[in-house]
């Protein structure tokens, strides 16, 4: 069984909670006591109907105010796949939550109301999903029951969306007409839309091809820690533990170590379960190499024939997550793969309007939830790939050095000129 991680974005009124509730309920992941508790709370609040949002709104403030303030993770499984849903609030002031929820997703599910079609909100969600290079996008045109299940309305919204998304660069977009409330095309189809020949949402989630979501072409192994057991029977053992970030690494392969630029060969790839012939993302392994080299945490093992970019001057797109704005000159700590370095922001180059995709080149600062282009200089060179090529070696976070709070998510675009 495989694992598929997907993110959903939206607010209560577009039927997102109803949709998630239905996915969980119809796949029998909601237990009777959980439904009981939701019914009790709904009744106590005086709601007219059972509010399925209560299943995911876990914090006291959220329940009292009827809002979602954070990313909630939900889980369900079918005989084919296990699913992790990162359920994020969709309003603009929660852009950072959507970025967080999307960062680990294979797929993003966007809801559009069949009556209103494309809105500013759906545009923003698609644009953030594209920015984070989510390989699969599913647009569910919901509330089809309220437009008489008409094919023309579905085609109209699909056309509108295709036009907008042409510039987004998403690998694959799937459109599904549904009614979450009536349960049409969520788990199973129905006679209501016999003109629709595609899969139901659940079948699509079960069958969408995710084999190539990881980078299997550029060998990248960031060292997490050096393993030296200091036990009598393993006296000379020196292994390097880490999670493969790209490519397929095989025993016997020639490798290059950065930053030392020394070359050696892979002697073993192993885990507690035994030796491996090859390792690929996202496996966590221990590697031993043939020569006795000085390798430590934060170093990167790659192929001599396939090396990452190496630079102290970086260009990136960031989502700013702190209350006080980001301006040039700001000093921060930066975490990239398994390394911490210090960095200074050289320049805020543009702010990206998330609803229109336009760049505001006059912007000189980024406020909370803004997305924009910056250049940075780091104390030591980073070994990286553009984010569009590798989501692991192309991403970083920025951390405030006095409060220790994470203030930005960043995607590397290349070397800054």
């Amino acid at each position: 069984m495989e694992l598929l991680r997907f993110a959903t974005a939206g607010s209560v009124d577009d039927g997102k909670s109803t949709l998630i509730g239905r996915l969980l309920y119809d796949s029998k992941q909601i237990f009777e006591d959980q439904i009981d508790s939701v019914e009790r709370t709904s009744a106590a609040r005086g709601d007219d109907y059972v509010d399925l949002a209560l299943l995911t709104d876990g914090l006291r403030a959220e329940r009292e105010q009827g809002i979602t303030i954070d990313v909630a993770y939900r889980y369900f499984a079918t005989p084919k796949r296990k699913f992790i849903i990162a359920d994020t609030p969709g309003h603009i002031e929660h852009t950072r939550n959507m970025v967080t929820g999307c960062s680990t997703a294979n797929l993003v599910l966007i809801l559009a109301d069949a009556r209103s079609g494309m809105t500013e909100q759906t545009r923003r969600h698609a644009s953030i999903a594209a920015l984070l290079r989510i390989p699969h996008l599913v647009v569910c045109i919901n509330k089809m029951d309220l437009v008489g299940y008409r094919e023309e309305r579905f085609a109209e919204i699909r056309g509108e969306f295709s036009e907008f998304s042409a510039n987004l660069g998403v690998k694959e977009i799937t459109y599904i007409p549904i009614s979450a409330l009536e349960g049409v095309n969520v788990v199973a189809g129905s006679g209501a839309m016999d003109w629709y020949l595609g899969p139901s949402l659940l079948r699509h989630l079960e069958e969408v091809e995710i084999d190539s979501d990881h980078n299997f072409s550029d060998p990248r192994f960031p060292i997490q820690r050096v393993v030296r057991p200091r036990k009598n029977d393993l006296h000379d053992y020196r292994g390097y533990a880490g999670q493969i970030a790209g490519g397929v690494l095989r025993v016997g392969d020639a490798v290059l170590v950065l930053p030392s630029r020394l070359t050696t060969k892979i002697q073993t790839l192993e885990t507690m379960d035994g030796p491996l012939r090859e390792a690929f993302p996202p496996m966590s392994v221990v590697m031993r190499v043939e020569d006795d080299l000085d390798i430590s945490r934060g170093d990167l093992i790659c192929s001599p024939a396939n090396q990452p970019l190496i630079s102290q001057n970086l260009a990136a797109v960031v989502c700013w997550m702190a209350d006080e704005p980001l301006r040039a000159g700001r000093r921060v700590a930066l975490k990239h793969t398994t390394r911490w370095v210090r960095a200074v922001v050289h320049e805020v180059q543009f702010k990206r309007e998330v609803n229109t995709l336009l760049h505001d080149n006059e912007a000189s600062e980024l406020a909370l939830n803004d997305i924009g282009g910056i250049t940075l200089r780091t104390t030591e060179p980073l070994f990286f790939d553009p984010y569009e090529r590798n989501r692991t070696t192309g991403s970083f976070i920025l951390v405030d050095e006095s409060s220790n709070v994470t203030v930005a998510a960043g995607m590397l675009t290349g070397e800054a000129r």
Binding site: Q224, T338, S395, A409
Partner: protein
Amino acid sequence: MADLLTHLDALESESVHIIREVVAEFERPSLLFSGGKDSAVLLHLAVKACWPQPIPFPVVHIDTGQNFEEVIAFRDMRIAELGCRLLVERVQDAIDRGDVVDDPALGSTRNRLQTHSLLKVIEDGRFDAVFGGARRDEEKARAKERMFSFRDEFGQWNPRGQRPEIWNLFNGRHGSGEHFRIFPLSNWTELDIWQYIAQEKIELPSIYYAHVRKVVCRDNMLIGVGPYTEPRKGEKIFEMMVRYRTVGDMTCTAAVESDALDPQMVIAETMVARFSERGATRTDDRFSEAAMEDRKREGYF
């Protein structure tokens, strides 16, 4: 072309990555071990993450003094096998010192009293990272907690001030006196745990499998009769085939009727279960809608 990992391999790799990040970046980690199934899986993952080195941090048990004897026997066996250091912090000691009061009004459970002992052991041990086996599918407040969960110098959790957790880039930076609770099993469900126990042949205390036990029926739950759980007036004692789905303090953990004798049979039962794990078996989450959130804010597991 590489094959995709199975869901268990992917979850394992994610957990191993988290544990290694903590070992690499924190000065004094420790691992909370109750002897329950989730902490047995957590300990197994820690062993795998550190392999071939023995785990380089101590294992901590908060002992309510109201344990199942099978669980304590299992704990001691597992610790002896691994040769790691075990720290036991007794709730009874805190009661004897007068730090906390054993409140009979709470149904004589010492569950909530554990928070004091937990915070004390973290302070005494100067631990800056504490691994726990909590899962997000257990409870709604946990569904919103980070894998690296920041605690201030009072050990408190602030749900609205959590650090965003993006990609697999964890930020464990902290000041002195502050610490992190680390939850490597965040993305695992009860079913994943059992499938992994079956796959890895992880040993568990015998009470996780069906056995005959004397029970009483209280609030629609089956409470095992034992030294800390005497039958109340009017309660009738039954003998029944039961197992435990969760194992905590004896006073707040209920059994479920079951015929499951091994992990495969438990998996089959889990797949058709009608009640959630905590809903079916934990009296401690029933006090209020936000019982878990309130306890977590105070510093609970």
